[in-house]
């Protein structure tokens, strides 16, 4: 049986959240890919379809000049730029005021989970507008299995 494919878009995977990735790489449950900035996330999303996409909100732009410009306009600050939200809006609403290129057309809200340090209340309105229902807040003392659980929840919702 084909393993579900998962893309995690997260710039802290190498450092603060490195303990979470072991389960994914060695678990044999998923085909796992990691993108550490918006540009490389889009490269992954264009190259193939994923069953589950986990997105962080505070992301760096990577080398794409348009994403970089957007980031620059907010003072080179991940916290205020919230490029993860802009990426989601671009992917799901095809808003070309965010980026002139057309986004890949296979991605739907039920394939996306948001895993971020922001509280649900802070971004609920955006999630509602985009139709994203799976959310987890990053906090101190996260279990090593949190990402696993998030992906399982997302995949279960997709089947429903």
């Amino acid at each position: 049986m084909k393993k579900p494919s998962v893309l995690w878009i997260e710039d802290s995977a190498r450092f603060e959240l490195r303990n979470l990735v072991a389960q994914l790489f060695f678990g044999d449950k998923y085909e796992f890919s990691l993108a550490e900035d918006v540009t490389s996330a889009i490269d992954h999303l264009r190259a193939r379809e994923f069953d589950a996409v986990i997105v962080d909100i505070r992301l760096p732009p990577g080398i794409d000049p348009d994403w970089h410009r957007l980031y620059q306009q907010t003072g080179f600050d991940r916290v205020h730029a919230q490029l993860g939200l802009k990426l989601l809006r671009w992917l799901l609403t095809r808003d070309n005021s965010i980026h002139p290129a057309a986004p890949p057309d296979w991605i739907k809200p039920h394939q996306i989970a948001v895993f971020t340090v922001e509280s649900r209340g802070e971004i609920q309105q955006h999630l509602d507008e985009l139709g994203i229902t799976v959310f987890r807040q990053k906090s101190a003392g996260l279990r090593d299995t949190v990402l696993f659980e998030l992906i399982d929840e997302l995949l279960a919702r997709a089947i429903e």
């Binding site: 072991a22 790489f25 060695f26 044999d28 794409d64 080179f76």
Partner: protein, 500 residues
Amino acid sequence: MDTPHSEIARESNILDLPIGVYVVAPAGQFIACNRPVRAMLDLPLEGDVRASIAQFYADPKTRGELLRKATEAEARGAYLEKEIIAFRVGARTIYVEDYCKPLRDPTTREIIGYVGCLVDVTAEHEADKRESKLQKRVEELTFDIGRILHANTGTLLMAQQTLDGVAEALGQRALNELNAIPLEEMDEQLIKEATVLANAMEKFLQSTEPERRCKALSDAKWDALTVKIAPLRQVRDLIPGLEMRAPALRATAHQIATICQEMAPGVLPRELVRDVLRAAAQLQNSACLVDVLMTRTAIIQMDSTLRSLRDFITADVRTYEPKKRLSVRQLTNQAITHIAEFARSSRVDIVRRDRDFDTHVEGIERDLVRALSNLLHNAIKYSWQRDRAKAPWVTIRTYAREGMVCIEFENWGVPIAQEEIEQGLIFQLGYRGKWSKDRGRLGTGIGLTDAKRTAQTHYGDLRVASRPSNPGWIRPDDPNYYNQPFVTTVTFCIPEAVRR
């Protein structure tokens, strides 16, 4: 209530002046006062004033003190000037600035009254009070932040010392030796040990019959073991970067060992189980060691960031340190000593190219050492490996030119964009370089700002230049232009002290 004074007042048209003017009797009864004074004190705007200035003093004792000062000023041939008085007018408190002098009888020289001006300064006074309250609060807060940062650096030191002990126990070597091992070598070792574990597991599975295996462990547990073999062999391609490889291998080796320990005893060949357990323990040990060393580096970096933040925040509230004549070599040495541990844990060498050069500058030692330490810290933090056989390095050069002493820090690695230098963005407080995030941890954003300010308060300046290591290889309009290594030079220049 006409008196000679009020006649004088009227004749002099003092009542028409745009500021408050008054003449009062020694006890304070108004003899004359103009409209601004009347408006200020809610007195009738026209006609006689049947009131005393004394009744308006918020603190009645103040008046006696004020008149004494006015008399003393008169003796010096001066006026009482800019004395702030609080008046109670109805339910309000107003603040007035008083200018006043006694009026004397020309014959007897006795005081027959006082003449003066009042300016309502309530708004300014309230603002001054608010500002001074705020200033006090900022100072308290600054001390408090300093204390908190100090306490946190203490905790970091404790964590670092614990990790030092753990690293030495895991590595069976002194920390200095462990820090000297290149990360690439550690990575190779991990990959080798992952392969050894995969081989041991494979041999174990091939040498045992399925029926016997089922007696030792459930099918699900065997599946959990089996699926780990291929990823262990492909770990280099599967997991990008040592930062993620080490914790992933540590967790996996632990899971394998835990499953193996659950096996029913006496069912499977003991030596094969022991080989797997030994290989898993070795991998777990090595992966833990790498993880501990990397966490230790992160702690030292955080410690360094907190220290410079604390020094910067508390710089204005510390005891005054006078300017001194200081040896440039000693200042540089102090900065190197401050940053030595950070350099060691980051595996970056500090290379001095100043051929025993030394001269002197006049300056505040604490500020200069802090500025130089920050510049050295940045140079280390943003250095990349340029040679597989050699650790990354930063170069320090010191020289004197045209009356200025220059201390130059050069590194090879993260670029600073041209526009960030030209527009002075990198010198703005809190600004973090566009390309400076490659090591995953933010700095304080104060290093260059503080160093430039320090240079300028010492009548010098800070210069920054950043250019591709191989100019012309990639065009500036190529999206990959800033992905190539840049040579960045930050030069701290201040005037050379007069030679003795």
